[in-house]
């Protein structure tokens, strides 16, 4: 996507642009009212207490008309500028791209969103943004599905009755008038965190107007501790910004900066920069991780120390002492008693000292402020501040906590409670008894995306608009201002936070567009071109926050640290509970998002629910019989966790590498009131979470209930069995033997001369390009953003938990995860696995109907139309990357996802109509209820076939993108005939997975172009082919992984454990070979043979 300058707008900026009727032209008050009321005929029916289904029918029907018959009506009325194409050049069917941003808690992800005929279909990162490489994360990729969620809040509700939108808006007006009169007495706002300057501005305006109004903020998973701690440590409100790429040694203290922290996608980019090596002499960074649960950060660490979360504090103290910080906090009663751990930290400290100014220590959001302060002290002592971590000016927030609000509610001080987002009835700390407390407010107004648990306890419920439906603004991690542009009119008339605030504040301008523009004017000055440029580029250049000069304030820090109470060590009877953000549903906000629900957890590979995580030793101590029979029927015991007088029941999962006597409880599941997708998934960990124990606490008790529960996983087997599938070496080995990856090749069959030449070799000559892919396993951290990007781009359906237990998930790209070593301290490695596009593809010659074949550009293509579904291709695919649509998953009703979907259309009815008749009337809709169908079909990418039942499907290397690029090039070339896509000209497209990958681990391109990045990567010494000996000649190759362990560390392993396993079985491939040998023909005969013979004989 090249940066193009937006054309100037040809239309005059004043006056009416369009009129729809004479009355519009006349601009009568009646007409204004008519415009206000969106669905005049249907709206009248909304006032009678009809069922939700009836309502939905009307909404769907209206939407159908509005969305298709009059597609123009759905476009936002305000001018938004497309990315790269001007609106006047709109071509029906050609997608447009708009720059926007996805607001996160304290940050935002800059995005470019694809719009097909007025409906957003695909989210991508904004590569123009100064702090982005165009990548995004899995939440951003999946958030588009929320727009089309048939269970989202669609109506204005007062006390359970549907009201007109105007009535709700009138109420907000009255509230404003009332507050005007009493200065906001009893008016309380409960907000979520936001980086929006507009919201901050409105808040200030309202505070000025209604000085008595009170502001509260609650986030169940709050990353503000980083800012809070920095503010204490440095005496000014500042937010740390981590530069992992500058650091040579990184110590992560219970900080999952690759997975569970905010802006993980940025951290991944910066961290993997330090791991991209081309030559053996290149420097590699080193990551040390101290953590309780096994996280992606731990998985990517060179050294990992597992400690209970409560012991991290002790580890930090020890670390600080070892690097001799100018700081002597009291040594508490509890010491880090484990000798090995102490040694680990000492050696780690030595490495840090060697890398003064080039090291980085970070603490995670679950750790208390005291730990963060000590970390700042360490970074200050190491001279890292200003180098690997900078502090950005952050506005100081003057808000109270949810506990304060509960107190205010209980003491009757709250008259009107305005909740903007959030779901406190579900996720507020359990000791606040929130539902009861909330009811003590006289009037409760809530703006929510779902009619969820909290909605039940509200007087007014207003539907929240999705960020792709409403105007807004935000600041990204580096402080750059980004616009949040809508791509579609709110589907169900939802309103945004800004509008609600503006209406309550009684402001003149209540349209979010005007608010955002005014805020922007205040920051960057007014001016049409200026504004357009902002919208076009998706950011305001030069608006990044300036790093502030900071001085570590040891006294202030010491006070906080001294006040911190140590947590007692945990035992098997007093377990430590750790509440963690779920990698898939976050704090519960994505509970009804099917893509995220079906995304396998990067560590456990479980889908559709959360589990109670235990270490293998703890499970054994507790005598839990956790069988994993690898027989698809993963039955695990259900256990009860008692903590602080509360209890929950959930399934147990034994997680290798977890700290002993620690129980990991993922938040976000077990919702009582959610949509069709999230219903019945997991247990609710919030029930144990109290204000005293928000993140971790000791003293929990676990008792088996005697029942079992079935789990669904996408990968049963976690061991690599000594096979050279993921190849890795330590840095020294790589330096000694740069071709180590090739040395691990198995003996290839001696093909002297083929019986007949591969017809594809002739075909290749015809191809203008030869596509290929290179995946760098050293960069891949397993974040899984690629999986969702692919799902979104390629219309990959979800199948539901029941079908996953039958191994029928449909992801075209998956992340294989292997553990090696002992279950206590394993190493984890990940490998993205997708169609390898073999040149001698075994799938092709076994298809009896020629449905899968090769094209001249080296792609293994699927002709869905031709496929009859013998599934032979899948059986013959050694990588098993083909997916079969066993049922019509695209037409599967969402409420059928939970259980067996075995009812036949011959004897089943949907919406009171025989399924066969429905099918006859509309074969596409299948057996989906109308409301689901009308919405969920909109999320589909029109450039990719939606596959039906009985058809095999697989990765096409985003063929549609390649073809679009080719067509564009042909148009551009005209008579010149220069139709070749060239990377040097930026015309080679990116695949969806590549585009989303924050680590830039996936590189796609033309392998026939020697200058292309993919060609250069494939020429590297680390390049190898998975299952090379089959001679399938895949176009996708991998770059072997290089670990960088510290030989001084107590847990130093001379070999990566997987390589060790391999050499134990096959002999050491590096022993007899120095330098350039190819396929490694003689290894099996050298040292491997006698042992393997013994094995074969038994």
């Amino acid at each position: 996507m090249s940066k193009t300058i937006p054309p100037s707008c040809p239309e005059p900026e004043t006056g009416q642009k369009y009129w729809r009727s004479l009355s519009h032209l006349a601009d009568t008050p009646e007409f204004r009212q008519w415009v206000e009321r969106e669905f005049p005929s249907g709206a009248s029916e909304l006032s009678d207490p009809v069922t939700r289904r009836h309502f939905v029918k009307i909404m769907s029907a209206s939407f159908l008309l509005a969305g298709f018959g009059l597609s123009g009506c759905r476009r936002p009325e305000e001018k938004i500028l497309p990315f790269g194409k001007a609106p006047e050049n709109y071509i029906h069917g050609a997608p447009q791209f708009f720059a926007t941003a996805m607001p996160t808690r304290g940050s935002a992800i800059p995005l470019v969103v694809k719009s097909n005929d007025g409906r957003p279909t695909k989210i991508e990162g904004n590569a123009l943004h100064p702090d982005s490489n165009g990548a995004s994360d899995h939440y951003a990729q999946a958030s588009i599905l929320n727009v089309y969620d048939p269970d989202r809040a669609m109506r204005f509700v007062r006390n359970g009755n549907i009201v007109k939108r105007e009535a709700a808006l009138d109420f907000l007006g009255e509230l404003s008038k009332k507050s005007q009169a009493d200065g906001g007495q009893g008016l309380c706002f409960l907000l979520e965190r936001s980086s929006s300057p507009s919201r901050a501005r409105l808040r200030k305006l309202i505070s000025d107007k209604f000085p008595k109004a009170r502001w509260f903020v609650y986030e169940p998973v709050d990353f503000d501790v980083h800012r809070q701690a920095a503010s204490v440590a440095f005496g000014k409100s500042a937010k740390p910004y981590f530069k992992f790429d500058e650091a040579k040694a990184i110590v992560s203290l219970d900080c999952d900066f690759i997975g569970g922290e905010e802006d993980a996608y940025l951290h991944i980019r910066r961290f993997t920069k330090g791991r991209k090596i081309e030559k053996p002499t290149d420097a590699v960074n080193r990551l040390y991780a101290v953590e309780a649960l096994f996280t992606l950060t731990g998985a990517n660490a060179d050294h990992r120390l597992r400690l209970p979360s409560s012991a991290v504090e002790l580890a930090v103290k020890l670390l600080g002492t070892k690097i001799s910080w100018q700081f002597a906090p009291e040594v508490g009663p509890r010491q880090l008693d484990d000798e090995k751990a102490s040694e680990w930290i000492s050696k780690c400290a030595e490495d840090l000292l060697k890398n003064r100014g080039r090291s980085l220590v970070i603490a995670g959001h679950r750790q208390p402020q005291s730990v963060h302060l000590m970390v700042h002290a360490i970074n200050a002592a190491l001279g890292n501040i200003g180098k690997t971590v900078v502090f950005l000016d952050a506005p100081e927030a003057k808000e109270e906590t949810i506990a304060d609000l509960a107190q205010a509610l209980n003491s009757g001080q709250v008259e009107t409670l305005v909740m903007l987002g959030g779901n406190p009835v579900y996720n507020a700390p359990a000791d606040l008894s929130w539902a009861r407390a909330q009811r003590k407010a006289k009037t409760i107004v809530r703006l929510g995306y779902y009619e969820d648990e909290t909605a039940e306890f509200c007087d007014w419920h207003l539907p929240l608009a999705h960020y792709l439906e409403s105007w807004g603004d935000a600041r990204t991690a580096d402080g750059t201002l980004v616009p949040v542009q809508p791509l579609i009119e709110p589907l169900f008339g939802g309103i945004s936070e800004l509008e609600v605030l503006a209406r309550i504040g009684g402001l003149e301008k209540v349209k979010p567009y005007d608010i955002v523009r005014e805020t922007y004017g205040g920051i960057a000055g007014d001016g049409e071109d200026n504004w357009k440029r902002f919208l076009h580029d998706g950011f305001l250049p030069g608006s990044a926050a300036k790093p502030v000069e900071v001085q570590f304030n040891a006294n202030a820090a010491a006070t906080v640290i001294g006040a911190a109470k140590p947590v007692a060590a945990s035992t098997k009877d007093t377990l430590e509970v750790v509440f963690h953000r779920n990698y898939k549903v976050d704090d519960g906000r994505y509970n009804n998002n099917g893509w995220l629900q079906e995304l396998p957890d990067p560590i456990t590979k479980l889908v559709w629910e959360n589990v109670i995580l235990l270490s293998p030793k703890t499970a054994k101590d507790l005598r839990l019989d956790v069988r994993n029979n690898e027989n698809n029927k993963l039955y695990v015991p259900l256990v009860r966790i008692e903590f602080d007088g509360r209890e929950i029941v959930g399934p147990v999962w034994v997680q290798p590498g977890q700290a002993d006597n620690v129980v990991g409880l993922a938040l976000g599941y077990g919702r009582e009131k959610t949509g069709r997708v999230g219903r019945g998934s997991g247990y609710d960990a919030y029930r144990l979470r109290t204000t005293k124990a928000l993140h971790f606490a000791g003293g929990a008790k676990l008792t088996p209930t005697g029942q079992t529960h079935q789990l669904a996983t996408t990968q049963d087997h976690g061991a690599m069995e000594g096979r050279p599938i993921i190849r890795e070496a330590n840095l020294e080995q790589f330096q000694k033997n740069p071709r180590f990856a090739r040395a691990m090749d198995l003996e290839k069959p001696p093909v002297v001369s083929p019986l007949y030449s591969n017809p594809l070799d002739k075909l290749k000559e015809k191809g203008l390009h030869q596509w290929g892919m290179s995946i760098d396993l050293n960069s891949c951290v397993g974040c899984s953003a690629c999986m969702l990007a692919c799902q979104s781009e390629n219309n990959v359906p979800i199948v539901g938990k029941d079908q996953v237990t039958r191994n029928r998930e449909m992801h075209w790209i998956r992340i294989d995860r292997y553990f090696t070593g002992s279950p206590e301290d394993p190493q984890m490695i990940t490998q993205p696995m997708l169609c390898q596009h073999c040149e001698a593809a075994p799938c092709e010659n076994v298809c009896p109907v020629n449905a899968t074949s090769h094209d001249e550009e080296g792609l293994n293509v699927m002709t869905y139309n031709r496929c009859v579904g013998t599934r032979y291709c899948s059986n013959n695919c050694p990588y098993k990357v083909r997916r079969f649509n066993f049922f019509d998953y695209n037409k599967l009703p969402l409420d059928k996802l939970v259980g067996p979907v075995y009812n036949t259309p011959l004897a089943h009815a949907t919406d009171g109509e025989w399924d066969l008749v429905r099918w006859f009337k509309n074969p596409d809709q299948g057996f989906r209820p109308a409301d689901e169908w009308e919405l969920l079909k909109l999320v589909k990418n029109p450039d990719v076939t939606v596959r039906m039942r009985g058809v095999m499907e697989k990765c096409s290397l985003c063929l549609q993108r390649i073809e679009q690029a080719k067509i564009a090039q042909k148009v551009k070339a005209g008579p010149s005939g220069d139709i070749k896509l060239k990377e040097s000209e930026g015309t080679v497209p990116q695949t969806a997975c590549q585009q989303a990958c924050p680590a830039e681990a996936i590189v796609f391109g033309d392998v026939s172009d020697a200058e292309s990045r993919v060609s250069k990567l494939k020429a590297l010494e680390r390049d190898y082919t998975v299952l090379d000996f089959l001679l399938t000649k895949p176009r996708t190759t991998y770059l072997a992984r290089v670990r960088n362990p510290n030989p001084a560390m107590p847990d130093y392993q001379e070999w990566p454990l997987s390589t060790k396993e391999f050499t134990e079985q096959n002999g050491n491939p590096f022993e007899h070979h120095e330098g350039g040998h190819g396929a490694g023909h003689d290894e099996p005969h050298a040292s491997g043979k006698p042992e393997s013979a013994g094995k074969g004989a038994d």
Partner: protein, 475 residues
């Protein structure tokens, strides 16, 4: 009597009694008796046992229909398949039924060419079994595909897009092999039936029967010219069928050995599959004929000697199969390929070890009992052992299909397969199909080749004391 005839024609001393061949029709039955006994099964009042067998069979056939309807309306997901086990019971059943379908043609064609006269007593029923077994087998490849309604795309039909089937695919070869085999088997069977249908026509008492049999007897009169043409055609068809017996299962085995999956990619598959097919086919013939000779009172035609001979074939082929199992292990070790090695160790000691050991005990150990004459002549034990052979051969296909797929190259794909109730009911349903047809066959068609049996008995000689129409009365 028989000795006398041989002695007079060959002028040789009769062999000592212990070396004398047992007569093919025992108890010195007159020639007319043969016609009466065989045709009587199809002519008399429907026996009760027939109804007891037929009604459950039809019910099971109905179940098969229901399962197929269900499958077509819903999709193959109702079976226990999933990644990486994309072929399950359907393909196992296909190969199993096809294997069973080998005995009939082998008996009627190869044994005919080898002048094995004992074949005449069993060939008709065995051939019928073949045809019905191939029908059962043919159902599975058709219904196991994802889009059943496009099954005809496997045929090389000219079309506007000039898309042809993929001739490199073994599934394509299957289409040709199985359909050819079925066609030739039906022709061969019908060919052999013509003289007997004429017998039935001539014996018929009702007009309807006369017309029906008359229609299918194609005007057979038993003239010398008819017999001459018949014998020639029979020989040609036998010659045609013989390579097919070997080719069908070889080609079915290529479905596996052409792939590159360890456990499938094996060069010994074609001969090993053919041996296994004959093994299972004879197992099934034994299973069917032992009770049949009893209830139809045909012990004099299908004698203990017949059963014994078939036991010997079973023993021979079973031992070949056992040798093949051993060879697979040897090659897995000898190849030095760790993936291959793993597959075979996993086969025997992995999660599906139970299936492997069922297969070994049924296929390798069971036939070893047939070394003993006492066992070969004990009908009950032979019947029970023949059922074990059938079970073992089903498990052989299960082991090949499922255990090779469930743990292959990348451990991340490893999984476990279990069938669903639909899989089981579909399989049972094919028994309904098989037995419905087989029972109808028993009731309406002479289940033993009357003419051929007569031809190989000494009584067929008009000068024989029991020969001709002197006794028995009917032709």
């Amino acid at each position: 009597m028989a000795e006398a005839v041989i002695a007079s024609s060959l002028k040789l001393q009769p062999p000592p009694p212990e070396l004398a061949r047992q007569p093919l029709v025992s108890n010195q039955r007159p020639i007319g008796w043969i016609s009466d006994a065989v045709a009587g099964v199809a002519e008399g009042k429907t026996p009760k046992w027939w109804w007891y067998a037929f009604i459950p069979s039809v019910l099971m056939l109905t179940m098969l229909g229901a399962m197929i309807l269900y499958l077509m309306s819903k999709g193959v997901g109702i079976w226990g398949l999933g990644q990486p086990i994309m072929w399950g019971w359907a393909i196992i059943n296909f190969v199993w039924w096809i294997g069973i379908g080998h005995a009939g043609t082998l008996i009627s064609a190869i044994l005919f060419l080898l002048r094995q006269r004992w074949r005449t007593a069993v060939n008709r029923a065995a051939e019928a079994m073949t045809i019905f077994a191939v029908m059962c087998a043919g159902i599975f490849p058709l219904i196991h595909i994802g889009r059943i309604w496009f099954g005809w795309w496997l045929l090389p039909l000219p079309n506007a897009n000039s898309i042809w089937p993929q001739f490199r695919s073994p599934l394509m070869w299957d289409v040709f092999a199985v359909s050819t085999y079925f066609t030739v088997s039906v022709l061969f069977w019908y060919m052999g039936l013509i003289p007997d249908l004429a017998v039935m026509r001539d014996r018929a008492r009702t007009k309807l029967r006369k017309c029906a049999y008359g229609l299918f007897a194609l005007g057979w009169t038993g003239s010398n010219r008819h017999w001459s043409n018949y014998e020639r055609a029979y020989l040609i068809l036998a010659g045609l069928s013989t390579p097919l017996v070997l080719s069908v299962h070889s080609i079915v085995s290529l479905d596996f050995s052409v792939s590159q999956l360890p456990g499938w990619h094996t060069t010994i598959f074609p001969p090993y599959f053919v041996a296994g097919a004959i093994f299972s086919g004879f197992g099934m013939v034994l299973t069917l004929l032992i009770p049949l000779r009893k209830v139809c009172k045909l012990e004099d035609v299908i004698t203990v000697r017949h059963v014994e001979l078939m036991c010997k074939v079973t023993l021979a082929t079973g031992s070949i199969v056992g040798y093949a199992y051993a060879m697979e292990f040897f090659i897995a070790w000898y190849s030095g390929n760790p993936y291959e090695r793993f597959t075979f160790i996993n086969r025997a000691f992995g999660p599906y070890g139970w299936a492997y050991w069922i297969m070994i005990s049924c296929n390798v150990l069971t036939p070893q009992f047939f070394w003993f004459k006492r066992i070969r002549t004990n009908m009950l034990i032979v019947f029970i052992l023949s059922i074990f052979v059938n079970i073992g051969m089903w498990f052989e296909r299960f082991v090949i299909v499922v255990t090779s797929l469930h743990r292959e190259f990348l451990p991340s794909n490893w999984s476990y397969y279990s069938p669903t109730w639909v899989d089981v009911c579909t399989y049972l349903g094919t028994f309904g199909l098989f037995f419905t047809f087989f029972l109808l066959f028993i009731r309406f068609v002479p289940l033993i080749a009357i003419a051929e049996v007569k031809a190989v008995t000494p009584q067929a000689d008009p000068h024989h004391p029991l020969g001709g129409a002197k006794e028995g009365g009917h032709p």
